[in-house]
Structures are given as structure tokens and as C-alpha cells.
């Protein structure tokens, strides 16, 4: 009998495997817990937006484990975190969607740029860029607030919500995401993941 090596197929980035479910659950739980812990710290001018250094977790989970994990970490993590803080899971659903979308976009970068990420350093740099781009695009969803809160004006959402949150979250994503990528990469390689 001859042993033949079977070519291993790369799982689709959109598949919902056991690994995706567990990583999503861990990401969402971490995001919710850190949301709960840091809710009290506010940026002046961002009245309904808390400073969220842990926002980098969301972009990291998307970048490291794919768009589905990124989306679920952001969406479920924000829903659960809002519920834990007392804000209410359903009070601002568009914010949860924005977090989910940011995680999803961060998760698309490794798929698009796999050939360019040849070293851990380039991977960390790409992770920082992915985090910022995902934040800028993903949080455009908060303009759904124009529909969900018809009293809100475009300029109000832009100046008191979108710009402050994008600046704060981009800084968090640009710093925390590469730090986590640099910490996780060697462990991931050691584990054979």
C-alpha cells in the first residue's frame, strides 16, 4: 500500500466551522467584557461614544481569523457589551452593525493581500492599515441613524459621532491590532494553525 499525500484545500473565508464559532464566541465575549470595563471613559465631543482601546481586538480577530469571525466579534460583542453596560442590546442596532462590518472588512485584508504578507513585520503593518481602513468604511453604517433617529441631522452625526469615533477607533486599531498580531503569530505557528 502506498501512502499518498492528499492536497489540503484551504477552507473558504466564509465557512462557519467549529473553529470560527469558538473564536467568534471568544472574540465577542472579550469585546463585550472590555466594553463593559471601559464604558465610563468618554472622549469630549463624542457623547455617545466611549473610548475603546479594546476596539483593536475586533480588528485583530477579523484580521487573524477571517471576515466571519470579525463580523461576529464586532456585532455580537457590541450587542452583548451594550446589554452588559445597561445601554440595551437593541437601543443602537446600527452601531453593532458598524462594529460587525469593521471586523468583516479587516478580515478581508489577509484574503486580498496574502501574497504581500511575507514576514511577521509586513503582516503587522498590513494589520494596522486594515484596522484603519475597516474603521473608516465600516462606521459609515452609523449614518443609518438618520433613519432610526429621524430627529438627527447629517451634520450632527458626522461631527459628534462619526468623526470622533473613527479617529478614536482608528488610533486603537492602528496600535492594538499589530501588537496582538505580533504576539499571536509565533504562538499560532507553534500550534500549527
Amino acid at each position: 500500500m502506498t501512502a499518498m499525500a492528499q492536497p489540503q484545500s484551504t477552507p473558504s473565508p466564509w465557512s462557519l466551522t467549529t473553529r470560527v464559532i469558538v473564536y467568534s464566541a471568544i472574540g465577542a465575549a472579550l469585546y463585550a467584557v472590555f466594553n463593559w470595563i471601559s464604558f465610563a471613559i468618554q472622549i469630549p465631543g463624542a457623547e455617545s461614544v466611549s473610548v475603546r482601546p479594546h476596539y483593536g481586538l475586533l480588528t485583530f480577530f477579523g484580521f487573524a481569523f477571517g471576515p466571519v469571525v470579525g463580523f461576529l466579534t464586532g456585532f455580537v460583542g457590541n450587542v452583548v457589551g451594550d446589554q452588559l453596560t445597561g445601554w440595551g442590546a437593541f437601543t443602537s442596532p446600527h452601531w453593532s452593525l458598524a462594529n460587525g462590518l469593521a471586523g468583516l472588512i479587516a478580515g478581508l485584508f489577509p484574503v486580498w493581500m496574502a501574497s504581500r504578507m511575507t514576514s511577521v513585520g509586513s503582516k503587522a503593518l498590513t494589520a494596522a492599515v486594515a484596522g484603519v481602513v475597516a474603521t473608516v468604511i465600516g462606521f459609515l453604517v452609523i449614518f443609518l441613524g438618520l433613519v432610526l433617529t429621524p430627529e438627527m441631522d447629517f451634520n450632527t452625526i458626522l461631527t459628534t459621532e462619526y468623526i470622533p469615533v473613527v479617529i478614536a477607533n482608528s488610533i486603537a486599531a492602528a496600535i492594538v491590532t499589530p501588537i496582538l498580531v505580533l504576539a499571536w503569530e509565533p504562538i499560532s505557528a507553534q500550534m500549527g494553525r
Binding site: A29, L57, V80, G88, W184
Partner: protein, 280 residues
């Protein structure tokens, strides 16, 4: 430091209902409430929402800080919106405003329309929060997974939400232990100063061990699920929920609200209302 969903409404009328009815009620309400703009309608809706909230038997002492936070944040957002727009947004976008006060130094106008819009937002968000609280406090955490499963979301998503709820207390405890461990090494989590970037980098000794530790620990969970052939076939659930008549009435009432709200919105019968006593 321990975060967890407290089952504060245990034993209440609403907690005895099928959790699916509480989830569906909140879902329908969130879709319906933004379609109502008239503050008189919203006042009635808030009263009904508070009545529903009281059925959950959530002790006031346990949630009063959360209510205070909600009112303060919603009030602040609504006030800033009213000040920026001068009341010329929503249904009053093209209206001539009734200016009550002009605030220095920029001559910001406080108008009757702006205050009416603030009232509308506070009433709506208050109602949404009143219907949303029972989702957190009147559903047993262990019932969330079966409820989502029986809402036909498949097996994987409910398991993921179930796992998230179960991981939260563990991870918050781990976070507390990590802070203690780093304090022993001289780390001061309350230290302030420096640029936002410096402050973020300073948090790395907290984020990195908790995150990486959780991910490496996740392998055990993944192996356990794989060994039980999770995701291969249809999963059976130990808990089976029953939708009783009262639960059906709850779902029916909120579905009816959504229909009425949509009709009012489409026919333009719930536009922003200018509070008459504010007009000089």
C-alpha cells in the same frame, strides 16, 4: 471583577414566558418605534413600554444607574443635535423656528422645535430601552441558545451566542487576575498622562495576555466540539421551549404595533409634533 448577565427578573410574569416572545417583542419594537415621530404617540407608547417593562419584575435598585446613564446620554445627544440644528431637522427641517433663547458666545438658538425634538428622542429611546431591558434580565442565560435555535437561526449561531454568554464571566475573572498579576510586577492600570497612543500601548500588558491566553485555551473547546462531531449533522438540544398562549399574545401585540407604526409612517400620520405650550 466579574461581568455576567444577571437574571434579575427571575420568577416574574415575563420571565415565565417563552424567551422567543421577549426577543421577538424587542425586535418588532426596534423596527416600529423609529417610524413614530409624533411625541403624543410616543408618550402613549412609552407608557405601554413601561407597563411591559414592569411585567419583568426587574428590581429598581439593581438597574437605576443604568437608567440614569441612558437618560443622561440620550438627553445629551438629543440636546446637542437640537443646538447644532437649531431645531431645523426631521419634520421641522424647512420650518421657520420659534426661537426661545439665544445662547452666547456663538448665538446658538434654543427653539421650540428643538425642544420638541429632544422630547421626541427621549421618549422613543426610553421606550426602546424599556422593551430592551427584559431581554437582558428576564431571559435565563441558559435559554438564550435554545430560543435562538427555535427561532430557526440554525445550530451554529445559537451555539456561538451561548458560548459567548458562558465565556463572559470566565474572561472577566481572568482579566481581573491579569490586572492583579501585572500590579505585582509594578503595572499601574490607573496611571494617566501621555498621548492617546502612549496610553494605548501602556494597556498592552493587560490586553495581550488575556487575549492570547483565551485563544490558546479555545483549542480545548474546539477539540471537544470536534470530537463530538459538532456541525456534522443536525444537533439535538436538551432544552425545548414551549410557546404558551400568553407568549403568543405578547408576540401578536408587538407585531400589531409594528404594523400600525408602519401604516402611520407610510400615511404620514405621525410627523414631528411641535409642543404648543413652548410657542410664545
Amino acid at each position: 471583577m466579574r461581568a455576567a448577565f444577571a437574571y434579575l427578573g427571575r420568577g416574574s410574569w415575563l420571565a415565565r414566558r417563552d424567551p422567543r416572545s421577549i426577543l421577538l417583542a424587542a425586535f418588532f419594537f426596534v423596527l416600529g418605534a423609529p417610524q413614530i415621530r409624533d411625541s403624543r404617540h410616543l408618550a402613549l407608547i412609552l407608557a405601554a413600554a413601561v407597563g411591559y417593562y414592569l411585567l419583568a419584575g426587574i428590581p429598581w435598585r439593581a438597574v437605576r444607574r443604568q437608567w440614569l446613564l441612558l437618560v443622561v446620554v440620550i438627553g445629551a445627544v438629543a440636546t446637542i443635535n437640537a443646538l447644532i440644528t437649531g431645531g431645523q431637522s426631521g419634520g421641522f427641517a424647512d420650518a421657520e423656528t420659534h426661537v426661545l433663547v439665544t445662547l452666547p458666545p456663538f448665538g446658538t438658538e434654543v427653539s421650540a422645535e428643538g425642544i420638541s425634538l429632544i422630547a421626541t428622542q427621549v421618549l422613543r429611546f426610553g421606550a426602546i430601552a424599556a422593551v430592551g431591558f427584559p431581554v437582558a434580565y428576564a431571559i435565563a442565560p441558559g435559554d438564550l441558545g435554545p430560543a435562538l435555535r427555535q427561532l430557526r437561526l440554525g445550530d451554529r449561531m445559537p451555539v456561538m451566542v451561548d458560548l459567548t454568554v458562558r465565556f463572559i464571566p470566565t474572561l472577566s475573572t481572568e482579566f481581573g487576575e491579569t490586572i492583579d498579576a501585572q500590579r505585582v510586577r509594578g503595572f499601574d492600570p490607573l496611571r494617566t498622562g501621555g498621548s492617546p497612543m502612549t496610553r494605548l500601548r501602556r494597556l498592552a500588558p493587560l490586553f495581550v495576555p488575556v487575549t492570547v491566553g483565551s485563544l490558546t485555551g479555545a483549542e480545548d473547546t474546539i477539540d471537544a466540539m470536534d470530537l463530538r462531531a459538532f456541525g456534522v449533522g443536525k444537533r439535538t438540544w436538551y432544552r425545548r421551549l414551549q410557546m404558551d398562549t400568553a407568549s403568543r399574545v405578547v408576540v401578536g401585540a408587538f407585531a400589531a404595533f409594528l404594523v400600525v407604526a408602519t401604516i402611520l409612517n407610510v400615511t404620514g400620520q405621525s410627523e414631528h409634533y411641535l409642543l404648543p405650550f413652548l410657542v410664545p
